[in-house]
Amino acid sequence: MGFKTLIIGLDGVPCSVIKELANKGVMPCIKDLMEQSIWGAMEVCLPPLSSVSWSSFMTAKNPADHGIYGFTDITPEYKLHFNSFLDIKTSTLFDRLGEKGLRSVVINLPSTYPTRSFPGVLISGFWSLELKKSVYPSSLLPFLKEINYKVDIDLPRAREDAKYLFESLRDTLQMRKKVAEYLWDREEWNLFMLVVTGTDRLQHYQFKSLIHKEGIWHEEVMDYYREVDELIEHYVNLFKSQGGDLVVILSDHGFTELKKEVYINSLLEEKGFLKFKNKSPDFISELDPKNTVAFALDPARIYVNLKDRFAEGIVSQKDFDKVRQQLQELFDNLNFEGQKVVKMVKMKEEIYSGKLMDKAPDMVLVSEDGFDFKGAVNGAGVFRDSDLEGMHTFDNAFYLIHTKDNSVKPPKNIVELARFIEENY
């Protein structure tokens, strides 16, 4: 038998929002659970992207150990690389449970594409390209094909078409449920994890309708969260009735309303830190290394073009701190119509520690709420508007720990939460 854990991930759902939804009666199961659990807000990691956050959670380590600092990374030759599951440099807690003979069933966890051999069942979450590489073991593929399983909804379409967004979110939630149902009794497991990513999609596209009663799609948004709550209720009750030990519900980052996008590379270009080889670059790889002191990768990871790090770096080690100081001043003084834009400038040694420090960005920016940092290099202008309504935050993520153990302490961050879960085994 052994210790059993149920983990439900609600991608991007802020603590403040889920608290509201619980109190308003939209998520009654969450409300009940809150009364019998420790719960609250927690920080995640920097940058607060799903790929970094879920990687930190699944490995119970920080980026300087697992190696995922963002959706992308940059090689010494300035080539852009998209991080996949194969780029995670340490074992996951699922692997470590596997070494003890314990199995995990993991459904829709972002940053696990492509799958590889796994002690249990793994179905990848965002981003994924082919279904057959999104599932381990491959014997599950026929079932997934049968139910027309999709890892994600048609995102560009959902961004333009709210009706399609809500329809597809609902369909996708049902599909996740079908998969969970199929695996719950069929598989032996000590850890069952299901992640709902629709919440993050909905919040990017219709955040206003979530937090404002007058929002055009407010009712539809409430309906979706109600359905999510029903799914939680179903599995928590089933789990507890079967003697499960620990329930954890968490989000991988917070969310807030997006007011203005801030293009960091445009700023760096304007201030002379960055130059491109041609007039309309599409990728950061097109930078002109001989004339670039620093550049950014999504969303606001700053890299100094160091001689020792990059093939055509121009900054020597002795000038490293001076350059970072200059950049810090630039970011501290950045304002939009009198408002401060950058809440914090973190140097890498302040936030990361581990063997992969030399792969870390040299600085990471944390924004004031409302300002969403971007690393994209196309288009013009530092401050731009967007049709997107929500943006990630690194604090205000949600955790809930439901267990008989009364001595559980609130986790400070997502890594601590993961460590706590693993310690039970």
């Binding site: 690389h81 194969l86 590889r116 965002f126 560009p156 996008e261």
Partner: protein, 259 residues
């Protein structure tokens, strides 16, 4: 086209005049097979012996490529040297398999250190930066050093890749020092197919299945269901089916505002 073949011959002739001890890298793909065909014609015409032909096995070769290499080397009566990183390949079975770096040979550990790889675990992925180095570059370099090879013929073309635009016919390399020779540098993708059909040069069956460019199995996909030579070269880039399908990933990330 005949011009370009003549040009390739000239490059090869220049290399032979210098009496380099050379090898030719054959991947089983259309470009290196074309190069091989051109080389055979030239050598037969001049009464010279062929350079050694090497094939690099990264552990994830399409069965169709193995079939093609075997049938074509029989047909053309060729001896092919297979190069591979035996130390790594004996430890792994599937893409994504992980090996503790300290279980690798001293040489492999050294090579990883050389490229600045500091992690404790190596993941078997032939087309990652470290994977490519250990599985392809290292066996090739070892062969060069162990056999005193001075020149390496490869089939790269300028139009394959923006990074290749500045390439030249003869290119000096360091570590180990040798010369890379690219006789078909000026052939375009269309030129390659025209030549193949004009002279009935054999090619791997994968191209008929829609593969435009062939790399490791785990990472190569057909770009279309139409045979390669019938696809729209302007619309679909040659290497669109290789690697991470960056365009697709970008689209998804952009749709969420991440890029």
């Amino acid at each position: 086209m005949k011009e370009k073949i003549r040009e390739a011959h000239k490059v090869i002739a220049e290399a032979f005049e210098k009496h380099y001890k050379s090898i030719l890298c054959w991947t089983g793909g259309k470009d290196s097979t074309l190069l091989l065909w051109i080389m055979i014609r030239f050598c037969e015409g001049e009464g010279l012996s062929l350079p050694e032909i090497v094939f690099i096995d990264d552990g994830d070769v399409f069965p169709e490529i193995w079939d093609f290499i075997n049938s074509t080397s029989k047909k053309w009566n060729l001896k092919v040297t297979i190069l591979k990183n035996q130390d790594i390949l004996q430890h792994v079975q599937e893409i994504g398999d992980r090996i503790d770096v300290n279980k690798l040979s001293k040489e492999n550990q050294n090579e990883l250190r050389k490229i600045g790889y500091s992690e404790e675990v190596f993941t078997y992925e032939p087309e990652s930066y470290a994977g490519n180095h250990l599985l392809k570059t290292v066996p090739l370099n070892q062969h060069i050093v162990q056999n005193g090879i001075e020149a390496v013929f490869t089939a790269i073309r300028r139009d394959e890749h923006p990074a290749r635009r500045e390439e030249v016919f003869f290119s000096n390399r360091e570590e180990p020092p040798h010369i890379r020779i690219h006789p078909i540098l000026n052939f375009t993708e269309r030129d390659v197919w025209n030549t193949i059909f004009e002279y009935k040069i054999p090619f791997c069956s994968l191209y008929e299945k829609g593969y435009r460019s062939i790399g490791a199995r785990y990472n190569t996909r057909p770009t279309d269901s139409k045979p390669a030579w019938l696809q729209d070269f302007d619309l679909i880039p040659e290497r669109a089916g290789r690697g991470q399908n960056k365009e697709q990933i970008m689209d998804k990330l952009r749709a969420l505002g991440y890029m």
